[in-house]
Protein backbone atom coordinates (compact mmCIF):
# COMPACT_ATOMS: atom_id res chain seq x y z
CA UNK A 1 0.00 0.00 0.00
CA UNK A 2 1.51 3.32 -1.06
CA UNK A 3 0.78 7.00 -0.43
CA UNK A 4 2.44 10.36 -0.77
CA UNK A 5 4.50 12.55 1.52
CA UNK A 6 2.85 15.89 2.34
CA UNK A 7 4.05 18.76 4.53
CA UNK A 8 2.36 18.79 7.91
CA UNK A 9 0.36 21.73 9.29
CA UNK A 10 3.06 21.98 11.96
CA UNK A 11 5.75 22.62 9.33
CA UNK A 12 3.53 25.14 7.58
CA UNK A 13 2.94 26.92 10.88
CA UNK A 14 6.64 27.01 11.72
CA UNK A 15 7.52 28.38 8.27
CA UNK A 16 4.78 31.02 8.35
CA UNK A 17 5.53 32.19 11.90
CA UNK A 18 9.27 32.29 11.16
CA UNK A 19 8.71 34.28 7.96
CA UNK A 20 6.27 36.62 9.72
CA UNK A 21 8.75 37.22 12.50
CA UNK A 22 11.60 37.99 10.10
CA UNK A 23 9.48 40.26 7.92
CA UNK A 24 7.91 42.10 10.86
CA UNK A 25 11.22 42.56 12.62
CA UNK A 26 12.75 44.00 9.45
CA UNK A 27 9.75 46.14 8.47
CA UNK A 28 8.98 47.32 11.99
CA UNK A 29 12.65 47.53 13.00
CA UNK A 30 11.69 45.42 16.03
CA UNK A 31 14.48 43.12 17.16
CA UNK A 32 12.23 41.66 19.89
CA UNK A 33 10.12 40.01 17.20
CA UNK A 34 13.21 38.21 15.94
CA UNK A 35 13.58 36.76 19.45
CA UNK A 36 10.08 35.30 19.12
CA UNK A 37 10.75 33.99 15.64
CA UNK A 38 14.20 32.48 16.21
CA UNK A 39 12.99 29.07 17.54
CA UNK A 40 10.50 28.83 14.67
CA UNK A 41 13.23 29.51 12.11
CA UNK A 42 15.11 26.52 13.50
CA UNK A 43 11.99 24.35 13.61
CA UNK A 44 11.17 25.22 10.00
CA UNK A 45 14.76 24.52 8.89
CA UNK A 46 14.89 21.15 10.62
CA UNK A 47 11.51 20.17 9.23
CA UNK A 48 12.50 21.13 5.68
CA UNK A 49 15.90 19.48 5.93
CA UNK A 50 14.22 16.16 6.64
CA UNK A 51 12.26 16.31 3.42
CA UNK A 52 11.78 12.63 2.55
CA UNK A 53 12.53 11.12 -0.81
CA UNK A 54 11.66 7.50 -0.07
CA UNK A 55 8.54 5.60 -1.07
CA UNK A 56 7.59 3.48 1.92
CA UNK A 57 5.59 0.32 1.39
CA UNK A 58 3.60 -0.85 4.38
CA UNK A 59 2.02 -4.16 5.15
CA UNK A 60 0.48 -5.62 8.28
CA UNK A 61 1.38 -9.18 9.17
CA UNK A 62 -0.26 -11.48 11.69
CA UNK A 63 1.93 -13.75 13.78
CA UNK A 64 -0.67 -16.54 13.55
CA UNK A 65 -3.52 -17.12 11.15
CA UNK A 66 -4.94 -20.18 12.88
CA UNK A 67 -6.08 -19.68 16.44
CA UNK A 68 -8.46 -21.17 18.93
CA UNK A 69 -11.08 -18.98 20.52
CA UNK A 70 -9.55 -17.08 23.41
CA UNK A 71 -6.03 -17.30 22.06
CA UNK A 72 -4.29 -14.18 20.86
CA UNK A 73 -1.90 -13.08 18.20
CA UNK A 74 -0.14 -9.89 17.22
CA UNK A 75 -0.51 -7.75 14.15
CA UNK A 76 2.84 -6.25 13.19
CA UNK A 77 3.66 -3.61 10.65
CA UNK A 78 6.38 -4.15 8.11
CA UNK A 79 7.73 -1.03 6.42
CA UNK A 80 9.95 -1.25 3.38
CA UNK A 81 11.96 1.84 2.34
CA UNK A 82 11.06 3.55 5.60
CA UNK A 83 14.38 5.27 6.31
CA UNK A 84 12.70 8.70 6.47
CA UNK A 85 10.14 7.56 9.00
CA UNK A 86 10.37 8.64 12.61
CA UNK A 87 6.88 8.00 13.93
CA UNK A 88 4.18 5.51 13.01
CA UNK A 89 0.52 5.65 14.03
CA UNK A 90 -2.04 2.99 13.14
CA UNK A 91 -5.74 2.60 13.71
CA UNK A 92 -7.50 -0.73 13.26
CA UNK A 93 -11.27 -0.77 12.85
CA UNK A 94 -13.24 -2.82 15.33
CA UNK A 95 -14.41 -6.26 14.20
CA UNK A 96 -17.28 -8.25 15.74
CA UNK A 97 -16.04 -11.00 18.06
CA UNK A 98 -12.45 -9.79 17.95
CA UNK A 99 -10.91 -8.12 20.98
CA UNK A 100 -8.12 -5.63 20.35
CA UNK A 101 -5.38 -4.40 22.61
CA UNK A 102 -5.24 -1.40 22.83
CA UNK A 103 -9.02 -1.60 22.93
CA UNK A 104 -9.40 1.48 20.73
CA UNK A 105 -7.38 -0.21 17.99
CA UNK A 106 -5.02 2.76 18.09
CA UNK A 107 -1.30 2.26 18.47
CA UNK A 108 1.62 4.53 17.81
CA UNK A 109 5.33 4.54 18.36
CA UNK A 110 8.70 5.52 17.05
CA UNK A 111 10.07 3.76 14.00
CA UNK A 112 12.65 1.79 15.96
CA UNK A 113 9.83 0.04 17.86
CA UNK A 114 6.94 -0.22 15.46
CA UNK A 115 3.55 -0.27 17.15
CA UNK A 116 1.79 -3.61 17.39
CA UNK A 117 -1.85 -4.46 17.99
CA UNK A 118 -2.78 -7.59 19.89
CA UNK A 119 -5.74 -9.48 18.54
CA UNK A 120 -7.88 -11.96 20.45
CA UNK A 121 -10.76 -13.61 18.58
CA UNK A 122 -13.66 -14.38 20.90
CA UNK A 123 -15.72 -16.60 18.59
CA UNK A 124 -14.93 -19.45 16.23
CA UNK A 125 -15.27 -18.95 12.49
CA UNK A 126 -13.58 -17.09 9.69
CA UNK A 127 -12.85 -13.58 10.89
CA UNK A 128 -11.76 -10.76 8.61
CA UNK A 129 -10.09 -8.05 10.64
CA UNK A 130 -11.11 -4.45 10.19
CA UNK A 131 -9.46 -2.12 7.74
CA UNK A 132 -6.44 -0.29 9.06
CA UNK A 133 -5.26 3.30 8.67
CA UNK A 134 -1.53 3.91 8.91
CA UNK A 135 0.21 7.26 9.11
CA UNK A 136 3.96 7.90 8.96
CA UNK A 137 5.74 11.07 10.04
CA UNK A 138 9.27 12.26 9.35
CA UNK A 139 11.66 13.64 12.01
CA UNK A 140 10.70 17.11 13.30
CA UNK A 141 7.14 16.39 12.12
CA UNK A 142 7.85 18.03 8.80
CA UNK A 143 6.15 15.59 6.44
CA UNK A 144 3.38 13.05 6.77
CA UNK A 145 2.68 10.00 4.66
CA UNK A 146 -0.92 8.92 4.65
CA UNK A 147 -3.07 7.97 6.41
CA UNK A 148 -3.28 5.09 3.99
CA UNK A 149 -5.68 2.18 4.17
CA UNK A 150 -4.54 -1.39 4.66
CA UNK A 151 -7.07 -4.14 3.99
CA UNK A 152 -8.02 -6.33 6.92
CA UNK A 153 -6.28 -9.65 7.28
CA UNK A 154 -8.23 -12.86 7.74
CA UNK A 155 -8.06 -15.28 10.62
CA UNK A 156 -9.28 -18.83 10.97
CA UNK A 157 -10.62 -19.20 14.50
CA UNK A 158 -11.00 -22.77 15.69
CA UNK A 159 -13.50 -23.67 18.39
CA UNK A 160 -12.51 -23.80 22.03
CA UNK A 161 -12.09 -27.37 23.32
CA UNK A 162 -10.54 -27.25 26.75
CA UNK A 163 -13.35 -28.33 28.98
CA UNK A 164 -14.11 -31.86 27.82
CA UNK A 165 -12.60 -35.07 29.05
CA UNK A 166 -14.29 -38.45 29.38
CA UNK A 167 -13.02 -41.44 31.30
CA UNK A 168 -15.48 -43.90 29.79
CA UNK A 169 -14.79 -46.26 26.91
CA UNK A 170 -16.51 -45.60 23.64
CA UNK A 171 -19.11 -48.25 22.85
CA UNK A 172 -18.70 -50.57 19.87
CA UNK A 173 -14.98 -50.68 19.34
CA UNK A 174 -14.69 -52.66 16.13
CA UNK A 175 -11.56 -51.20 14.64
CA UNK A 176 -7.93 -52.25 14.74
CA UNK A 177 -5.84 -50.75 17.51
CA UNK A 178 -7.11 -48.38 20.16
CA UNK A 179 -7.73 -48.01 23.84
CA UNK A 180 -11.37 -49.09 24.12
CA UNK A 181 -12.18 -52.51 25.52
CA UNK A 182 -13.56 -54.71 22.78
CA UNK A 183 -16.27 -57.33 23.42
CA UNK A 184 -13.95 -59.96 21.98
CA UNK A 185 -10.87 -61.31 23.66
CA UNK A 186 -7.45 -60.38 22.44
CA UNK A 187 -4.06 -59.05 23.38
CA UNK A 188 -5.12 -56.38 25.81
CA UNK A 189 -3.75 -55.64 29.25
CA UNK A 190 -6.89 -55.73 31.38
CA UNK A 191 -7.93 -58.95 33.05
CA UNK A 192 -11.01 -60.70 31.61
CA UNK A 193 -11.02 -64.37 32.62
CA UNK A 194 -8.99 -67.50 33.40
CA UNK A 195 -9.55 -70.58 31.31
CA UNK A 196 -7.77 -73.90 30.55
CA UNK A 197 -4.83 -73.74 28.19
CA UNK A 198 -5.50 -74.38 24.52
CA UNK A 199 -3.04 -74.98 21.73
CA UNK A 200 -1.99 -71.64 20.32
CA UNK A 201 -2.11 -69.74 23.61
CA UNK A 202 0.96 -67.71 24.39
CA UNK A 203 3.13 -69.10 27.15
CA UNK A 204 3.40 -65.75 28.88
CA UNK A 205 -0.39 -65.85 29.38
CA UNK A 206 -0.14 -68.94 31.62
CA UNK A 207 -1.31 -68.26 35.16
CA UNK A 208 1.15 -70.37 37.15
CA UNK A 209 -0.61 -69.90 40.45
CA UNK A 210 -3.93 -71.28 39.17
CA UNK A 211 -2.19 -73.97 37.13
CA UNK A 212 -0.31 -75.30 40.19
CA UNK A 213 -3.42 -75.24 42.30
CA UNK A 214 -5.58 -77.02 39.73
CA UNK A 215 -2.78 -79.26 38.37
CA UNK A 216 -3.82 -78.20 34.85
CA UNK A 217 -2.46 -75.41 32.71
CA UNK A 218 -4.59 -72.26 32.80
CA UNK A 219 -4.16 -68.96 30.99
CA UNK A 220 -5.45 -65.47 31.72
CA UNK A 221 -7.43 -63.75 29.00
CA UNK A 222 -8.01 -60.07 28.38
CA UNK A 223 -10.28 -58.06 26.11
CA UNK A 224 -8.82 -56.74 22.92
CA UNK A 225 -8.23 -53.01 22.78
CA UNK A 226 -9.60 -51.44 19.69
CA UNK A 227 -10.56 -48.11 18.33
CA UNK A 228 -14.09 -46.93 17.67
CA UNK A 229 -15.73 -45.06 14.87
CA UNK A 230 -17.31 -41.84 16.07
CA UNK A 231 -19.51 -39.73 13.82
CA UNK A 232 -20.23 -36.17 14.87
CA UNK A 233 -23.31 -34.59 13.35
CA UNK A 234 -23.60 -30.83 13.81
CA UNK A 235 -26.97 -29.23 13.19
CA UNK A 236 -26.42 -25.91 11.40
CA UNK A 237 -30.01 -25.51 10.24
CA UNK A 238 -30.32 -22.46 12.45
CA UNK A 239 -28.56 -20.45 15.12
CA UNK A 240 -30.74 -19.83 18.15
CA UNK A 241 -29.86 -17.43 20.91
CA UNK A 242 -27.33 -14.64 21.05
CA UNK A 243 -23.60 -15.21 20.79
CA UNK A 244 -21.37 -12.94 22.84
CA UNK A 245 -18.13 -14.72 22.22
CA UNK A 246 -16.18 -17.07 24.43
CA UNK A 247 -16.78 -15.32 27.74
CA UNK A 248 -20.39 -14.38 27.15
CA UNK A 249 -23.60 -16.12 26.24
CA UNK A 250 -23.44 -18.90 23.67
CA UNK A 251 -25.88 -19.50 20.85
CA UNK A 252 -27.03 -22.97 19.86
CA UNK A 253 -24.47 -23.10 17.06
CA UNK A 254 -21.72 -21.99 19.46
CA UNK A 255 -22.65 -24.80 21.83
CA UNK A 256 -22.82 -27.33 19.02
CA UNK A 257 -19.54 -26.41 17.38
CA UNK A 258 -17.61 -26.16 20.65
CA UNK A 259 -19.03 -29.42 21.97
CA UNK A 260 -18.32 -31.22 18.69
CA UNK A 261 -14.76 -29.89 18.71
CA UNK A 262 -14.23 -31.03 22.29
CA UNK A 263 -15.63 -34.52 21.63
CA UNK A 264 -13.59 -34.83 18.43
CA UNK A 265 -10.40 -33.85 20.22
CA UNK A 266 -11.07 -36.28 23.04
CA UNK A 267 -11.74 -39.24 20.77
CA UNK A 268 -8.87 -38.56 18.42
CA UNK A 269 -6.53 -38.31 21.38
CA UNK A 270 -7.72 -41.69 22.58
CA UNK A 271 -7.06 -43.19 19.15
CA UNK A 272 -10.61 -43.40 17.80
CA UNK A 273 -11.60 -42.64 14.23
CA UNK A 274 -13.75 -39.55 13.99
CA UNK A 275 -15.98 -38.39 11.15
CA UNK A 276 -17.92 -35.15 10.87
CA UNK A 277 -21.11 -34.21 9.09
CA UNK A 278 -22.50 -30.68 9.00
CA UNK A 279 -26.22 -30.52 8.35
CA UNK A 280 -27.36 -27.16 7.05
CA UNK A 281 -25.61 -24.01 5.85
CA UNK A 282 -22.87 -24.82 3.39
CA UNK A 283 -22.86 -28.40 4.65
CA UNK A 284 -19.67 -30.39 4.95
CA UNK A 285 -18.59 -33.98 5.24
CA UNK A 286 -15.36 -35.35 6.60
CA UNK A 287 -14.71 -39.05 6.50
CA UNK A 288 -13.45 -41.12 9.39
CA UNK A 289 -9.86 -40.54 10.33
CA UNK A 290 -7.47 -40.35 13.22
CA UNK A 291 -4.42 -38.39 14.22
CA UNK A 292 -3.54 -34.74 14.72
CA UNK A 293 -3.81 -33.90 11.08
CA UNK A 294 -7.32 -35.24 10.94
CA UNK A 295 -8.20 -33.32 14.10
CA UNK A 296 -7.00 -30.17 12.37
CA UNK A 297 -9.30 -30.96 9.46
CA UNK A 298 -12.21 -31.45 11.85
CA UNK A 299 -11.51 -28.09 13.50
CA UNK A 300 -11.16 -26.44 10.12
CA UNK A 301 -14.51 -27.74 8.94
CA UNK A 302 -16.14 -26.72 12.23
CA UNK A 303 -14.65 -23.23 11.96
CA UNK A 304 -16.36 -22.80 8.62
CA UNK A 305 -19.84 -23.72 9.82
CA UNK A 306 -22.55 -21.26 8.86
CA UNK A 307 -26.20 -21.47 9.78
CA UNK A 308 -28.61 -22.00 6.92
CA UNK A 309 -31.46 -24.12 5.69
CA UNK A 310 -30.96 -27.20 3.55
CA UNK A 311 -31.89 -27.04 -0.13
CA UNK A 312 -35.40 -28.34 -0.80
CA UNK A 313 -34.27 -31.46 -2.63
CA UNK A 314 -31.90 -32.61 0.08
CA UNK A 315 -34.16 -31.83 3.01
CA UNK A 316 -36.50 -34.74 2.33
CA UNK A 317 -33.78 -37.34 1.81
CA UNK A 318 -31.03 -36.44 4.24
CA UNK A 319 -28.51 -39.27 4.59
CA UNK A 320 -25.96 -39.13 7.39
CA UNK A 321 -23.89 -41.95 5.86
CA UNK A 322 -23.14 -43.74 9.09
CA UNK A 323 -21.12 -46.92 8.87
CA UNK A 324 -22.08 -49.84 11.06
CA UNK A 325 -20.41 -50.00 14.43
CA UNK A 326 -20.08 -46.26 14.80
CA UNK A 327 -21.20 -44.15 17.69
CA UNK A 328 -23.12 -41.10 16.56
CA UNK A 329 -23.20 -37.81 18.45
CA UNK A 330 -25.82 -35.38 17.21
CA UNK A 331 -25.25 -31.80 18.34
CA UNK A 332 -28.54 -30.11 17.75
CA UNK A 333 -31.24 -27.95 19.35
CA UNK A 334 -33.68 -30.44 17.75
CA UNK A 335 -35.85 -27.75 16.25
CA UNK A 336 -35.65 -28.93 12.64
CA UNK A 337 -37.80 -31.79 11.39
CA UNK A 338 -35.04 -33.02 9.08
CA UNK A 339 -32.47 -33.63 11.78
CA UNK A 340 -35.05 -35.21 14.08
CA UNK A 341 -36.10 -37.66 11.38
CA UNK A 342 -32.50 -38.51 10.52
CA UNK A 343 -31.65 -39.09 14.19
CA UNK A 344 -34.69 -41.27 14.78
CA UNK A 345 -33.86 -43.41 11.77
CA UNK A 346 -30.32 -43.98 13.09
CA UNK A 347 -31.69 -45.02 16.47
CA UNK A 348 -34.07 -47.43 14.77
CA UNK A 349 -31.14 -48.97 12.91
CA UNK A 350 -29.78 -49.94 16.32
CA UNK A 351 -26.83 -47.57 16.25
CA UNK A 352 -25.72 -46.00 19.51
CA UNK A 353 -26.83 -42.37 19.10
CA UNK A 354 -26.39 -39.61 21.63
CA UNK A 355 -28.15 -36.30 21.16
CA UNK A 356 -26.40 -33.34 22.73
CA UNK A 357 -29.03 -30.67 23.20
CA UNK A 358 -27.46 -27.35 22.23
CA UNK A 359 -30.43 -25.05 22.76
CA UNK A 360 -29.30 -22.47 25.35
CA UNK A 361 -31.61 -22.19 28.34
CA UNK A 362 -33.94 -19.20 28.35
CA UNK A 363 -33.38 -18.43 24.70
CA UNK A 364 -36.06 -16.50 22.85
CA UNK A 365 -36.23 -15.86 19.13
CA UNK A 366 -35.63 -12.52 17.49
CA UNK A 367 -38.93 -10.88 16.70
CA UNK A 368 -39.01 -9.57 13.13
CA UNK A 369 -40.19 -6.02 12.50
CA UNK A 370 -43.91 -5.70 12.21
CA UNK A 371 -44.66 -8.86 14.19
CA UNK A 372 -46.53 -8.67 17.47
CA UNK A 373 -44.05 -9.75 20.20
CA UNK A 374 -46.84 -11.53 22.09
CA UNK A 375 -47.66 -13.57 19.02
CA UNK A 376 -43.99 -14.44 18.53
CA UNK A 377 -43.71 -15.44 22.17
CA UNK A 378 -46.75 -17.68 21.88
CA UNK A 379 -45.39 -19.32 18.73
CA UNK A 380 -42.05 -19.92 20.40
CA UNK A 381 -43.67 -21.52 23.43
CA UNK A 382 -45.65 -23.84 21.19
CA UNK A 383 -42.48 -24.70 19.28
CA UNK A 384 -40.72 -25.55 22.53
CA UNK A 385 -43.59 -27.81 23.57
CA UNK A 386 -43.26 -29.64 20.26
CA UNK A 387 -39.55 -29.91 20.82
CA UNK A 388 -40.05 -31.39 24.30
CA UNK A 389 -42.28 -34.02 22.74
CA UNK A 390 -39.64 -34.81 20.13
CA UNK A 391 -36.94 -35.19 22.78
CA UNK A 392 -39.22 -37.42 24.86
CA UNK A 393 -39.90 -39.51 21.77
CA UNK A 394 -36.20 -39.93 21.06
CA UNK A 395 -35.58 -40.90 24.68
CA UNK A 396 -38.37 -43.47 24.38
CA UNK A 397 -36.61 -44.95 21.35
CA UNK A 398 -33.49 -45.38 23.49
CA UNK A 399 -31.59 -42.35 22.38
CA UNK A 400 -30.15 -40.40 25.30
CA UNK A 401 -30.61 -36.64 25.11
CA UNK A 402 -28.26 -34.61 27.25
CA UNK A 403 -27.35 -30.99 27.68
CA UNK A 404 -23.72 -30.00 27.18
CA UNK A 405 -21.99 -29.35 30.48
CA UNK A 406 -18.33 -29.66 29.52
CA UNK A 407 -16.08 -32.24 31.13
CA UNK A 408 -17.80 -35.50 32.01
CA UNK A 409 -20.96 -34.68 30.07
CA UNK A 410 -20.92 -37.93 28.16
CA UNK A 411 -19.47 -40.29 30.79
CA UNK A 412 -22.72 -41.62 32.17
CA UNK A 413 -24.37 -41.90 28.76
CA UNK A 414 -21.43 -43.74 27.20
CA UNK A 415 -21.22 -46.09 30.16
CA UNK A 416 -24.89 -46.99 29.73
CA UNK A 417 -24.43 -47.45 25.98
CA UNK A 418 -21.43 -49.71 26.60
CA UNK A 419 -23.48 -51.81 28.97
CA UNK A 420 -26.33 -51.99 26.51
CA UNK A 421 -24.14 -53.29 23.69
CA UNK A 422 -24.10 -56.81 25.15
CA UNK A 423 -27.89 -56.95 25.36
CA UNK A 424 -29.67 -58.43 22.30
CA UNK A 425 -31.59 -55.75 20.42
CA UNK A 426 -34.33 -55.65 17.86
CA UNK A 427 -33.20 -53.63 14.87
CA UNK A 428 -35.57 -52.01 12.44
CA UNK A 429 -34.32 -52.17 8.86
Amino acid sequence: MTGRWRPTPALARAVVVAALAVVMSVIGAAPAVMVLGAPFILLACFGLLHRPDSEPVISAVLDHRWLHEGQGTTSRLAIRDGEDVEHVARLMAQTPYVALHPSTGLAAGLADALPTIEIGPRRWGRRVLGEELVCLTTPWAGYRWGPVRLPGDSLRVLPHTRRFDSRTDTPRPVGLVGVNRSPRLGAGVEFADIRPFRPGDRLRRISWRVSVRSRELHVTTSPAEEDSGVLLVVDALGDHGRSSGLDGTASSLDQGVRAAAAVAEHHIRTGDRVGLRIVGGDGGLLGYGAGRRHLRSVFDLLAGVRAGELPDGIESRLQLRVTGGSVVFVFSPMLGQTIVTATASLVQRGLPVVVVDTLPPGVSPRVPDGVDPRLADLAWRMRKLERDQVLAGLAALGCPVIAWRGAGTLDDVLRRLSRRRSVPQVVTR
Binding site: A14, A30, V35, P39, L42, F46, T104, L106, A108
Partner: protein, 172 residues
Amino acid sequence: MSLLARETRARLLLRAVLLVAPVLAVLAARPEDVPNGWFLALTLVLSVGFAAMPESALGTMCLGVVVFWWMLAAGDGVPVGAVPAALLLLAAHVSSVLLSYGPSKLPVGPALSGRWLRRAAGVAVAAPLVWLVAVAVDGQPEPPGVWVSGLVCAVVVCIVAAIAVTVREDEA
Protein backbone atom coordinates in the same frame (compact mmCIF):
# COMPACT_ATOMS: atom_id res chain seq x y z
CA MET B 1 -17.82 18.35 27.10
CA SER B 2 -18.08 14.63 26.49
CA LEU B 3 -15.18 14.91 24.03
CA LEU B 4 -13.04 16.47 26.73
CA ALA B 5 -14.02 13.75 29.20
CA ARG B 6 -12.64 11.12 26.80
CA GLU B 7 -9.27 12.84 26.49
CA THR B 8 -6.31 11.51 28.41
CA ARG B 9 -4.72 13.69 31.06
CA ALA B 10 -1.63 14.30 28.95
CA ARG B 11 -3.68 15.46 26.00
CA LEU B 12 -5.77 17.73 28.20
CA LEU B 13 -2.57 19.25 29.56
CA LEU B 14 -1.29 19.89 26.03
CA ARG B 15 -4.59 21.50 25.05
CA ALA B 16 -4.40 23.68 28.13
CA VAL B 17 -0.94 24.82 27.04
CA LEU B 18 -2.39 25.68 23.61
CA LEU B 19 -5.13 27.67 25.25
CA VAL B 20 -3.02 29.60 27.72
CA ALA B 21 0.41 30.07 26.11
CA PRO B 22 -0.53 32.55 23.32
CA VAL B 23 -2.49 34.71 25.75
CA LEU B 24 0.37 34.73 28.23
CA ALA B 25 2.79 35.53 25.40
CA VAL B 26 0.74 38.62 24.62
CA LEU B 27 0.62 39.58 28.28
CA ALA B 28 4.39 39.09 28.61
CA ALA B 29 4.91 42.46 26.99
CA ARG B 30 5.72 45.36 29.28
CA PRO B 31 2.87 46.25 31.68
CA GLU B 32 2.36 49.61 30.01
CA ASP B 33 1.93 47.78 26.70
CA VAL B 34 -0.87 45.54 27.88
CA PRO B 35 -3.08 45.28 24.81
CA ASN B 36 -6.57 46.51 24.45
CA GLY B 37 -9.35 44.17 25.50
CA TRP B 38 -10.44 43.43 21.96
CA PHE B 39 -6.95 42.30 20.99
CA LEU B 40 -6.70 40.04 24.00
CA ALA B 41 -10.16 38.66 23.24
CA LEU B 42 -9.11 37.97 19.64
CA THR B 43 -6.04 36.10 20.85
CA LEU B 44 -8.14 34.15 23.32
CA VAL B 45 -10.68 33.18 20.67
CA LEU B 46 -7.93 32.05 18.32
CA SER B 47 -6.20 30.10 21.08
CA VAL B 48 -9.48 28.37 21.95
CA GLY B 49 -9.73 27.34 18.30
CA PHE B 50 -6.08 26.31 18.36
CA ALA B 51 -6.70 24.14 21.44
CA ALA B 52 -9.76 22.55 19.87
CA MET B 53 -8.19 21.97 16.45
CA PRO B 54 -4.41 21.86 16.84
CA GLU B 55 -3.82 21.20 13.14
CA SER B 56 -6.02 23.99 11.83
CA ALA B 57 -4.86 27.31 10.40
CA LEU B 58 -6.21 28.94 13.57
CA GLY B 59 -2.94 28.00 15.24
CA THR B 60 -0.90 29.89 12.66
CA MET B 61 -3.22 32.86 12.95
CA CYS B 62 -3.02 32.79 16.73
CA LEU B 63 0.79 32.77 16.78
CA GLY B 64 0.87 35.37 13.99
CA VAL B 65 -1.35 37.70 16.02
CA VAL B 66 1.01 37.39 18.98
CA VAL B 67 4.03 38.18 16.80
CA PHE B 68 2.16 41.16 15.33
CA TRP B 69 1.34 42.47 18.80
CA TRP B 70 4.97 42.22 19.81
CA MET B 71 5.98 44.22 16.73
CA LEU B 72 3.56 46.94 17.81
CA ALA B 73 4.39 46.79 21.51
CA ALA B 74 8.14 46.40 21.54
CA GLY B 75 9.09 48.81 18.75
CA ASP B 76 12.84 49.12 18.57
CA GLY B 77 13.30 48.10 22.19
CA VAL B 78 14.46 44.67 23.36
CA PRO B 79 12.37 43.86 26.45
CA VAL B 80 13.35 40.83 28.44
CA GLY B 81 9.72 39.65 28.21
CA ALA B 82 10.41 38.64 24.62
CA VAL B 83 12.31 35.57 25.84
CA PRO B 84 9.44 34.06 27.90
CA ALA B 85 7.05 35.06 25.13
CA ALA B 86 9.19 33.13 22.64
CA LEU B 87 9.27 30.12 24.95
CA LEU B 88 5.50 30.25 25.37
CA LEU B 89 4.97 30.34 21.61
CA LEU B 90 7.37 27.42 21.24
CA ALA B 91 5.51 25.49 23.95
CA ALA B 92 2.23 26.06 22.11
CA HIS B 93 3.73 24.89 18.84
CA VAL B 94 5.28 21.75 20.34
CA SER B 95 2.04 20.94 22.16
CA SER B 96 0.14 21.17 18.92
CA VAL B 97 2.71 18.94 17.19
CA LEU B 98 2.35 16.30 19.91
CA LEU B 99 -1.42 16.44 19.64
CA SER B 100 -1.39 16.03 15.88
CA TYR B 101 0.50 12.74 15.58
CA GLY B 102 -2.71 10.77 15.29
CA PRO B 103 -6.44 10.69 15.97
CA SER B 104 -7.79 12.44 19.04
CA LYS B 105 -7.98 9.16 20.97
CA LEU B 106 -4.28 8.45 20.50
CA PRO B 107 -2.41 8.81 23.79
CA VAL B 108 0.78 10.83 23.74
CA GLY B 109 3.63 8.38 24.12
CA PRO B 110 6.41 9.07 26.61
CA ALA B 111 9.16 8.35 24.08
CA LEU B 112 7.78 10.87 21.63
CA SER B 113 7.15 13.45 24.36
CA GLY B 114 10.69 13.06 25.63
CA ARG B 115 12.12 13.46 22.16
CA TRP B 116 10.14 16.64 21.54
CA LEU B 117 11.04 18.02 24.97
CA ARG B 118 14.71 17.62 24.10
CA ARG B 119 14.16 19.20 20.70
CA ALA B 120 12.20 22.09 22.18
CA ALA B 121 14.91 22.66 24.77
CA GLY B 122 17.54 22.76 22.03
CA VAL B 123 15.57 25.08 19.79
CA ALA B 124 14.57 27.33 22.71
CA VAL B 125 18.22 28.29 23.23
CA ALA B 126 17.96 30.40 20.09
CA ALA B 127 15.57 32.86 21.80
CA PRO B 128 17.87 34.05 24.63
CA LEU B 129 20.85 34.00 22.26
CA VAL B 130 19.10 36.30 19.80
CA TRP B 131 17.92 38.46 22.70
CA LEU B 132 21.49 38.77 24.02
CA VAL B 133 22.73 39.77 20.56
CA ALA B 134 19.91 42.28 20.26
CA VAL B 135 20.72 43.75 23.68
CA ALA B 136 24.40 43.94 22.78
CA VAL B 137 23.79 45.92 19.61
CA ASP B 138 20.91 47.99 21.07
CA GLY B 139 21.59 51.75 21.09
CA GLN B 140 24.51 51.55 18.70
CA PRO B 141 24.22 53.40 15.37
CA GLU B 142 22.85 51.12 12.69
CA PRO B 143 25.14 50.62 9.71
CA PRO B 144 23.30 50.73 6.41
CA GLY B 145 21.82 47.33 5.40
CA VAL B 146 22.28 45.82 8.84
CA TRP B 147 18.80 44.26 8.91
CA VAL B 148 19.17 42.62 5.55
CA SER B 149 22.63 41.32 6.47
CA GLY B 150 21.25 40.10 9.76
CA LEU B 151 18.48 38.29 7.97
CA VAL B 152 20.91 36.56 5.63
CA CYS B 153 23.18 35.64 8.52
CA ALA B 154 20.27 34.22 10.47
CA VAL B 155 19.20 32.03 7.59
CA VAL B 156 22.76 30.80 7.00
CA VAL B 157 23.23 30.04 10.68
CA CYS B 158 19.98 28.15 10.80
CA ILE B 159 20.88 26.02 7.81
CA VAL B 160 24.35 25.26 9.15
CA ALA B 161 22.92 24.35 12.54
CA ALA B 162 20.26 22.19 10.96
CA ILE B 163 22.83 20.30 8.88
CA ALA B 164 25.00 19.79 11.93
CA VAL B 165 22.11 18.46 13.98
CA THR B 166 20.98 16.19 11.15
CA VAL B 167 24.43 14.69 10.79
CA ARG B 168 24.57 14.13 14.56
CA GLU B 169 21.22 12.36 14.56
CA ASP B 170 22.21 10.13 11.65
CA GLU B 171 25.44 9.18 13.38
CA ALA B 172 23.52 8.39 16.56
